[in-house]
Every structure is written in C-alpha cells, then in structure tokens.
C-alpha cells in the first residue's frame, strides 16, 4: 500500500513537472507569437495606409477573383448574399454559386432573381466532384455562374467551383458571411505586392452578432449583448490580431478561415482541391498547400491581412458552441495526423520544424493537459501533496498571463483599426478577458477532451446548427437557416485552450421550449399574419421587445414557429406543426405540402394544398421541419448533409 501510494505520489509529482514545463514552453511560444504580431500589425497598418496613386479599376493587371459560394438549402438568404457579393468593389470579379444538391428552392430562387438560363452543354472536362446536373449563367450579370450538382458536401462544392472558374484566384466564402465592400481590394494585397510568390491570403473574421447590417454591409459595429458571444469576440480578436498575425510574421500561417480567404486557383487544383474526407477543409487545404509547395521547391507566401474583414455570427448557446468547438478540435487532430510526415521534417522548412509542432502542442495538447491538471489537482490535494500556496501562486500567475495575452489582442485592435467606437465596449472586452478564466476556459478543456474522444471513435459529423442570419431573407422570409459552424483553429489563444476560432454559426431561435417560437429576423415589407390554431403560448419564448406579440398583431421583424413538442424531445417525425412563413407559399415545394394541409392567412381563409397565397402565411406540415429549411438543431440529418457547410 505504501508502495502504491509512493508510486501515485511520484506519478503525480512527475506529471506536475511535465505540466509546468509544458506550460512554460508553450507560453514562451505564445509570447513570441504575440510580440511578433505587434511588428506585423505595425507593418500591416503602414501598408494599408499607403494607397498607390492609381485607379485599380482602370488597371488591366489586377488578378481576377472568383467568389466560390457553396450553397446548401440557402433559399432564404442566397439571393441577398449574391446581390451583396455583386456589389463588392473589385475590378475583375466572378461569382460562382454552387448549389450542392439543395432540397429546398435555392436554385429556383437564383434562377428567378438573376434570370438564369441553363448552359446547354455538358462540362467538357473532368471535375473532381459529385456529378454536375447543370451549369447556369445569368442573362443579366455576365459574371455570375451557377453550378447545380448532386450533394457532396462543402469540399465537394468548393471543388466544383474551383474547377469551373478560369480566374487566377478564387475566394472561398460562406453564403452567409457578410463581407466589407472593400475587403477584396484589401485581401488581394499580397497578390498585388508579390504576384509571383503569393499563394494564399486570409482576412479577419469578426463577430456580427448584434451589429447593424444594412444592404449586405455591416454599418454599425457593436459588441454582442450576450456574454457568450462577447467572450467569442475577445477570442477572435486574440486569435486574429495576435495569433495569425504572429504566425504570418513567422511565415508560418497554417490556417486561413474557410469563411473568407483567397487562393491561387492553379495550386489548389494541383493538390487535388479540397479533401472530401475532412471536417476542417480550410485548415487541411492550407497545410497541404505548404506541403506541396515545399515538395516542389516553389517559393511562396501565405499571408494574413488584418484589415479586410468578413463578418459572421457566432453561437450564443454553450450547446451549439460546444458542438462547433468539438468539430474544430477533431479536424485539427485529423489534419495533424494526416500530415504527420511534415512534423519535424526539415524539408518543410519553418512550417514543418517549428510552426506545426508548436501549433499542435499548443492547440491540440494544451486543453487536454489543462484538463488533466483539473483532475490531478483535487487528487493531489486528497493525497496531501498539494501545496496550497504553490497552487494559488501558480493559478494566479497562469491566469494573469492568460489575461495579459487576451488583453494584448484587444490592445492590438484598439491600436490599429479600432472598429469598436464605444470605449465601454473595450472595457467589456477587457472584462471578458478576465471572465473567461473562471468557467469558460475550464469548459473548453472538457470540450477538447470530448472532441478527442469523438475523433478516436471515428465520428465525422459536422453537427447541425441554426443560424438566424443577417436579416432580410429572400422576399423577406424568416431568415432562419440551419447551418453548421465554420473553420478554424488558431494560434494565439490562451494556454490550454483549443483556440479554435473563426466564423461560426449561431443559434437564433430558442429551440428548447415547446409552443410558438419567436424567430427574430427582419422581414421586410411583409404583411402580418395572425397567430392561428391553438393560440400562443409565448411564455418563455419571446425575446426582448418582441415578447408578448399578440394574435393578429402586425409584425415586421420576425415570425413564430409553432412546435407541438418540446424541441429537445423532438424527432424528425414529431416535427409537425404550423410554420409561419412570409415568403410566398409558392416558394414551398409541393411535396412539402401534404394533402391534409391547411394554409391560412389572417382572415382565416382556408386553402387547399394546390392553392397558393401570394405573400405568405402559416403552413401546416407533417414533414420534419428540417425539410422546410427551418431546422431544429436537434434534428438529425444525413451525414453528407451535415458535413456540407461551415
């Protein structure tokens, strides 16, 4: 017994030394990355402040960019997204929308809005993607191409777009990402400054929750009201303004967000495009690009530009965020394992010998080791070998250093682009830098362990999320669509955190309560519909000023989804009920409208399934709500569908 105790104590002490040593090494790495980020930020700011005295739109030498937009069941927002992209400032731009076997009316919406006509010819070369059902071009917009293909997931859709464009560069962008008007002109800068060597370039992803978005552009930047989203804002700043800038300075950027990044089309084709069997295709792509270019001994740069900004929503519930972060974690481990031959291999230069090993040590092992520490500490206390003074001192020092790194990222933002006008927002961000150390950070270690277990179990689903969108869906329809999160892991996070940061999805509707669910999305110029059939049980489901909306009361910024069961208990088969839509009923697939359905407007006019309302109303559906595009985050989906989107 004594021997066993001695062995346990020795193990604990040894593990403690390993953890402390690891902590010191990793934090030195973080500190170096953060300090280098300052230099990079200074240079980046200088470069962005210098505007060459010429007019880009008059130059024939700007490289063409294809915006490749994978779309799966995006009927609510795809038209607005494409319109927004058509208005981006760039001299030579093409939009390639890839409809990845959507089961809703994504393609029809595009056809109608942009006067698409089918190209009456099969694609005359092989495309490494699921079969292409048709290619469409707009008769109005010369630079809009729509590819309709069978469902194959996001990577598959991106590959179709990459193979069908003739542009020198392509920009992978999520359909629901809001891009600053001048972002393309900024993100392309490495390709302008060093056209021979630039291979990829990424911009900053920022959190759009609670920002004001008008005409497809973020017009007012405010910090989200909820703490979880606010914490993520702080994480994003730390990841982008410290982590990625620092890695870019080291010429070792291994991650460009899948929500907004541009790449040389020919090199991406040369490595076979995006891999289908990965759940973080963006990380995998950049790592493979490094590998290929080193193998071929091609001089290249992969750059991060701080100023071009794309905006995305982040999850506002721990459940959704946890799912997102587990996926990121699994993807990071998967990419590390797949490309393990690069590790400590001098052939792959700085990326192979320094960056990737540290990246993996910090981002993959960090949270695991920290989580282990949370288990060992009580054990050590129980065994009486924990020096409370030492523990407190260590905790304060590590926490203090973590807060310092977080504040470093916020300071970088304030010193450079300073998008948050209100100093109170900055104060809140600083507060979040402290707050995350008490609960949130520990929660992330649990998530990392769960991610590791999922990876070991071979789980490869993306998980499904709901996203409230940025408002103003097609025809003003409720802009709730289901999405899975985007991307990415990042360096520059506090020690022990996965630091997986970039664009993500958000849960908008409260889906864990039965009854009518208020969907808070702007619905422009749509007539109101009274709530019918069964009355409203709005208790606990209303949000903010919209809470307590009454029957028949006009509403111009949202709608109700009625569910017959608590969402947490629903199965797809149970997902029946009335769904309020403001889009024309004609926009709903006929097969979605069952024979026993009743469609009513606020005057209680009953209509049969083959009748149509022009401007919306309640639809009874006995199908899973998933089939209407208004998905519960609990609703299971086929794996290939789950994996589609970021």
């Amino acid at each position: 017994m004594i021997d066993l105790q001695a062995l346990t104590v020795s193990l604990l002490v040894g593990t403690g030394f390993v953890i402390i040593s690891y902590y010191i090494i990793i934090n030195i790495y973080y500190l170096i990355v953060h300090v280098l980020a300052l230099f990079e930020l200074r240079d980046s700011t200088n470069e962005s402040e210098w505007k060459p005295p010429f007019y880009p739109f008059g130059s024939p030498f700007y490289p063409g960019i294809a915006m490749v937009v994978p779309a799966y069941n995006e009927e609510a927002s795809i038209v607005e997204s494409v319109r927004s992209m058509l208005t981006l400032n760039y001299p030579d731009q093409e939009i390639v929308v890839v409809n990845d076997g959507s089961t809703d009316r994504t393609l029809e919406q595009l056809q109608k809005a942009f006067k698409l006509e089918a190209v009456a010819a099969p694609v005359p070369y092989d495309v490494p993607a699921k079969p292409i059902r048709g290619v469409y071009r707009s008769t109005r917009y010369e630079d809009l191409l729509v590819i309709d293909k069978e469902n194959g997931g996001k990577s598959d859709a991106l590959n179709a777009g990459v193979w069908l464009t003739e542009q020198k560069l392509f920009c992978a962008v999520d359909a629901d990402t809001v891009i600053d008007r001048n972002a393309l002109l900024q993100i392309v800068r490495p390709f302008l400054e060093d056209p021979e060597k630039a291979v990829a370039s990424g911009g900053t992803i920022r959190v759009a929750n609670d920002c004001t978005i008008s005409d497809g552009e973020v017009t007012e930047v405010t910090l989200p009201k909820t703490g979880l989203a606010g914490l993520q804002v702080m994480e994003y700043l730390r990841a982008f303004y410290s982590g990625r800038l620092g890695l870019s300075r080291l010429k070792g950027l291994v991650l460009i967000s899948g929500a907004f990044g541009i790449f040389r089309t020919d090199y991406v084709r040369a490595i076979g495009g995006y891999r289908h069997d990965t759940i973080t295709e963006d990380l995998d792509l950049v790592v493979r690009l490094h590998k290929y270019l080193c193998d071929e001994e091609i001089e290249y740069t992969v750059d991060f530009i701080a100023e071009p900004v794309a905006w995305t929503e982040v999850p506002e519930s721990f459940r959704v965020l946890g799912r997102q972060r587990r996926r990121w974690y699994r993807g990071m481990v998967e990419t590390a394992v797949t490309n393990r031959e690069m590790l400590f291999n001098r052939k792959y230069g700085r990326v192979g010998t320094v960056i990737l090993p540290f990246f993996i040590a910090a981002e993959a092992f960090g949270p695991l080791i920290e989580g282990l520490g949370y288990i060992l500490l009580p054990l050590a206390w129980y065994l009486g070998i924990l020096s409370i003074e030492f523990f407190l001192a260590f905790f304060l020092l590590t926490t203090g250093f973590g807060v310092f790194l977080s504040w470093f990222g916020i300071a970088s933002e304030v010193l450079s682009f300073n998008r948050y006008d209100d100093p109170r927002d900055i104060l809140r961000l600083l507060w979040y830098g402290i707050l995350e150390n008490f609960g949130y950070r520990q929660w992330k270690t649990v998530v990392a362990w769960q991610g590791l277990l999922e990876y070991l179990r071979g789980e490869n689903s993306w998980g499904v999320m709901e996203r409230k969108g940025f408002g103003g869906g097609v025809d003003g329809g409720p802009d709730v669509d289901v999405d899975v999160d985007t991307d990415t892991n990042s360096a520059g996070s506090a020690p022990g955190e996965a630091g997986a940061l970039a664009s993500g999805a958000a849960t908008a509707a409260r889906v864990d309560t039965s009854g009518f669910i208020w969907v808070q999305n702007p619905i422009e110029r749509e007539p109101a519909f009274g709530v019918i059939d069964g009355g409203v049980d709005g208790e606990g489901v209303g949000e903010g000023e919209n809470e307590g909306e009454e029957d028949g009361e006009s509403t111009d910024d949202g709608g109700f989804i009625w569910t017959s069961l608590p969402v947490t208990e629903r199965t797809p088969a149970d997902d029946t009920g009335f769904i309020w839509v403001s889009v024309p009923i004609a926009a709903v697939d006929e097969e979605d409208i069952q024979s026993d359905q009743v469609v009513r407007d606020d005057s209680n006019l009953e209509m049969t399934g083959d009748e149509r309302l022009d401007d919306g109303g309640f639809i009874w559906t006995s199908l899973p709500i998933t089939d209407t595009g208004l998905l519960s985050e609990e609703a299971p989906r086929e794996a290939h569908e789950d994996r589609f989107r970021d």
Binding site: Q5, P52, A393, F408, P423
Partner: protein, 375 residues
C-alpha cells in the same frame, strides 16, 4: 495517509513576487494603454468627423464657387490641427477629380507645404516617408528633379514605380525614357501590380524605350521580371514595327513555364509581322509539355486570326490531349470558324458546344450592357 511534502516544487517567495510584479505591471500597462487609446480615439474620431466635414465643405466651396480659391489665405487662417485634417480630405479629392478642377485643387498643396515637405522626406525620410512623399508629388503633379528621383527613389520596386508614376501623371516629355529607366535600371526584382501598371502606362504612348531595354537586358532579368515585361507588352496597343522583338521569341523556349505562357500572349498583337511569325515555330506548340503554355499559344493563334493561324489552330485542337487546353483552343477557334456542331470533329464536339454556349451568353450579357449604357 501520510502527507508527502512537496518542497521540490515550491517556488521561492521572491521568485513568485517577481513573477507577480512583472505580470501585474504588464496587465496594468496593457489595460491603461488600451483604455486610454480607446478613449482618445473615440474623442478624436468625433472631432475629426465634424472637422473634416466642415473642411471639405469649405474646400469645395472655394474650388467650385470662386474664380480664385485663395488657398494661401485660407490655409493661413487654419490651425495646425485643421491643416493636418485637411490633408486626407485633399488626398481624397485629388484622386477623384481630373482636368482643370484637379489642377486648381492641386494649388493648395504648396499652401499646405506638402510639396516642400515631400521633397525633404524624399531626401532624408524613412521608407514610408519616401513612399508617401512620392505619392503626394504624384497627386499634386509636381515632378521633382530627375537626379533626386534616381538617387532617392530606386531602393525598392514600390519606390521605383511611384517615382515613374509621377512622370506619367505629370505628362512629362521624358515619361517613357526616364520612366522606363527608373523602373528597369539595374535589373530590379519583380514589381507589384502597381509597378506593372506603371510600366504599362509609361510605355503606352511610346514602347520603344521598353523594347530597347528588354532587348539589351532581357538575359539578365529574373523569370518573374521577364514575365511581367511580357505581360505589359501584351497589353501595349502601340505596335512598333521596327522594334527588336527577338527577346520575346527567345522567351518562347524559356525553361520557365510561366514565361512561355506570357511570351505567347505577348505576341498577340504581332500576327501581321511576318518577321516575327517566321521565328515562331507554330508546329512546335503541340510539343510543349505544359497544357497552360499550349493554351496560351492557342489564344495567340486566335488573336492572329488569319487563315494560316486558324488552320494551325484547328490542327492543334484536333490533337490536343488536355481537355482544358482543348476548350481554350476551341474558344479561340470559335469566333473565326462558325461550323455547326455536325461539322466539328467528334473529339472536339463537347468542347465546341461548351464554347458555343458560353459565347452565346457572353454576347447576350454584352448586348444587355450595351442596352443599359445609353441610359
């Protein structure tokens, strides 16, 4: 259970204290800096926006509302802060205006002391100071002495390009010669897109200096620079009949793929030149291992567009093994060769229908654009 002392991992109190002081100080410093800058910026931004709006209004009133804007007098009445804020406003309008309005507006530069300051920075400033100085002089159309440019503006490709840009923007008589000299003397490394555009602009009216330098120095250039000069050559509309273009022909056999690609396209405008054509071994196109090079050559033959070129193109398309290059060949062929699908060789049928369809859509879009433009 007996407790085991953990003396080995206890830090000396002094070490802990030092660590705490360092981290605590760093936290206080970062927080103070962040909050301070945030408050300052918020205050500054509010004032700046109002001030710039006010200054822009006054500037436009003087520019468009008076015969004599009296820049000196107005600037003399402004505070130092107002003068500082006026500069970005001026920068913005100088980039967007043209003609007599721009010339009139540029008169405010000397009043603000920008011209003299820029010359000083050019002589003794840092890299960014020099670059901004060159930019101001370009916007103000105020070319400095050539010696000053040669001595202080050729350290980097960006400076070279901006220096040459001043000459182009100011429409100086030596724009082509001195501009090309500034850009290409001493065999610089590759340019940014701005540099390439500037080389194009200074050579647009008179490509002879560029061609002469290329003929002399081409062998010493890096492949990246070769490619860029070839790219510029492709876009030059002014054809020089007597120019020595053997360097382009020489580039067709460059070991670097991208140089060969650029070289074929550079010859787009020289299909009429029998001397050049005899030097280009069109039959060798099919033997190039790179589909991208072959595709570029097909585009060149399409641009030449005469019977002999189209005949070669048709032959090459028929034996092209790469599907993507085959499509390019057919796209180049299509405008000159309106066969119906039934007349097309079977191996080209798929590419032909694809090219025909896209040509139809292109024409449709152009038609819509042309119908829109009068409105």
């Amino acid at each position: 259970m007996s407790s085991v002392p953990l003396q080995v991992v206890e830090f000396p109190p002094v070490a802990l204290l030092v660590g705490a002081v360092i981290i605590g100080s760093a936290l206080i410093a970062v927080a103070s800096l962040t909050i301070g800058v945030s408050l300052w910026e918020a205050w500054r931004r509010r004032r700046q926006e109002a001030l710039r709006t006010e200054l822009a209004g006054e500037l436009l009133e003087r520019l468009f509302g008076r015969d004599d804007p009296e820049w000196e007098q107005w600037v003399g009445s402004l505070s130092a802060r107002q003068r500082r804020e006026l500069e970005p406003v001026l920068d913005s309008y100088l980039r967007s205006l043209d003609g007599s309005d721009r010339i009139k507006l540029a008169g405010i530069g000397p009043a603000l002391g920008i011209n003299n300051r820029s010359r000083r920075h050019l002589q003794a400033g840092s890299y960014w100071h020099r670059l901004h100085a060159l930019t101001w002089l370009t916007l103000l159309r105020d070319p400095p002495d050539r010696d000053l440019l040669r001595t202080h503006s050729t350290h980097t490709p960006s400076e070279r390009a901006t220096a040459a840009r001043i000459l182009y923007a100011s429409e100086t008589p030596d724009c082509s010669t001195t501009g090309t000299d500034l850009l290409l003397a001493d065999n610089p490394s590759a340019f940014s897109v701005f540099g390439v555009d500037t080389l194009y602009r200074v050579s647009e009216g008179n490509p002879s200096p560029l061609f002469e330098r290329a003929a002399a120095d081409y062998d010493e250039w890096s492949p990246a620079l070769e490619q860029q000069v070839l790219l510029v050559t492709r876009h030059l509309n002014t054809v020089v009949g007597s120019a020595d273009l053997s360097w382009i022909v020489q580039s067709l056999s460059s070991p670097t793929e991208r140089v060969r690609v650029a070289a074929y396209r550079a010859l787009d405008a020289y299909g009429w030149n029998s001397d050049i054509r005899t030097q280009v071994n069109v039959r060798a196109i099919s033997e190039d291992p790179s589909p991208a090079v072959r595709a570029s050559a097909y585009r060149m033959l399409g641009a030449w567009g005469d019977r002999a070129a189209i005949s070669e193109l048709r032959l090459a398309a028929a034996v092209e093994s790469d599907p993507r290059a085959r499509v390019v060949a057919v796209e180049a062929l299509y405008p000159h060769d309106h066969h119906t699908l039934a007349d097309v060789q079977p191996e080209l049928a798929a590419a032909w229908t694809w090219a025909a369809e896209h040509a139809r859509f292109d024409a449709l879009a152009r038609d819509i654009s042309s119908r829109r433009s009068p409105q």
